[in-house]
């Protein structure tokens, strides 16, 4: 099984890096959809089947915390897994996200194996069910 992932970050370059890191990680990725902030993410959810969201926290217009609040208030999206990739170093803020229902977070800088381990855990995958790193577009 592969997963459709929504990448939410206001940096176009960081979205590209996350997409390439996912491909290199061995995690089974179906389609990658991109959004530049929380509001664009909500629009993308309305038009695409998404299995998992990877989001930044600090973004203009609608930040990652507000996005999570909106998702948890919506019956359609309240159980959608959301994982943060962030530079946030304020532990209280990170714990607040977990309390709101975030499934985990990865601090930048990150390594492909860290992403794979956390996402496999969040999606309930065993290590054997993941692809070998580099099997899929893994020229990173």
């Amino acid at each position: 099984m592969s997963y459709n992932i929504l990448i939410v970050d206001d940096s176009k370059s960081m979205r590209k890096v996350i997409r390439k890191t996912l491909a290199a990680s061995g995690f089974r990725v179906g389609e990658c959809i991109e959004a530049g902030n929380g509001r664009e993410a909500l629009d993308a959810l309305a038009n695409n089947w998404i299995d998992l969201i990877l989001s930044d926290i600090h973004m203009p217009e609608m930040d990652g915390m507000e996005l999570l609040r909106r998702l948890r208030e919506d019956a359609t999206w309240k159980d959608l897994p959301v994982v943060y990739i962030t530079t946030e170093s304020n532990e209280d803020r990170l714990q607040e996200l977990v309390r709101l229902g975030a499934r985990g977070y990865i601090r930048k800088p990150f390594k492909p194996e860290e992403i794979r381990a956390l996402l496999s855990d969040v999606m309930g995958e065993t290590d054997e069910s993941a692809m070998a790193p580099g099997d899929e577009d893994g020229d990173f």
């Binding site: 940096s11 370059s13 590209k16 962030t86 946030e88 930048k108 800088p109 990173f140």
Partner: protein, 150 residues
């Protein structure tokens, strides 16, 4: 400046550059140890915490900014454009700032929004409480990082 901060700054810069930009730097090498070179670009970010504010500045040569951006994006150096360099250098400031703050014992930290400008002038980071680290890559001076307490 607090020696713990200086070490945290070095560790943050090395870890971010090596992990995300596939670039390695040294902090000691040949070349003038001052901030007066006409650098290609500057990326900066401010952080606040209960005890005050700090700002990080990176002033970099074009060759290094281009090489680091190519490493970050997995592209070839000659394919990297100005917009990508700006985006990547903002991320560099953002990640180093966040990494640094996770290493120092400050309460209630808040990281600002990174900024970028071309051909920076020399004002702004010459205060008495500013720390500067020269950055060298393969023996060449490729830039300088500043941490200014505000």
């Amino acid at each position: 400046m607090n020696p713990q901060w200086r070490q945290a700054m070095k560790t943050a810069i090395s870890e971010v550059l090596e992990t995300m930009f596939f670039a390695m730097v040294d902090f000691e090498g040949e070349g003038a140890p001052d901030g007066g070179c006409p650098w290609y670009c500057e990326a900066s970010i401010e952080a606040a915490f209960d005890a005050g504010k700090v700002a990080f500045f990176f002033r970099l040569s074009e060759d290094f900014a281009r090489m680091a951006t190519a490493g970050f994006l997995g592209s070839r150096e000659e394919q990297v454009n100005a917009e990508e360099i700006e985006d990547a250098m903002k991320e560099l400031a953002n990640m180093v700032g966040g990494n640094f703050l996770s290493r120092v014992e400050e309460k209630n930290v808040r990281l600002g929004i990174p900024t970028f400008r071309m051909a920076p002038a020399h004002e702004g980071v010459t205060g008495a409480d500013a720390e500067m680290l020269n950055l060298y890559c393969l023996g060449d001076r490729v830039g300088a990082a500043f941490l200014e307490r505000r």
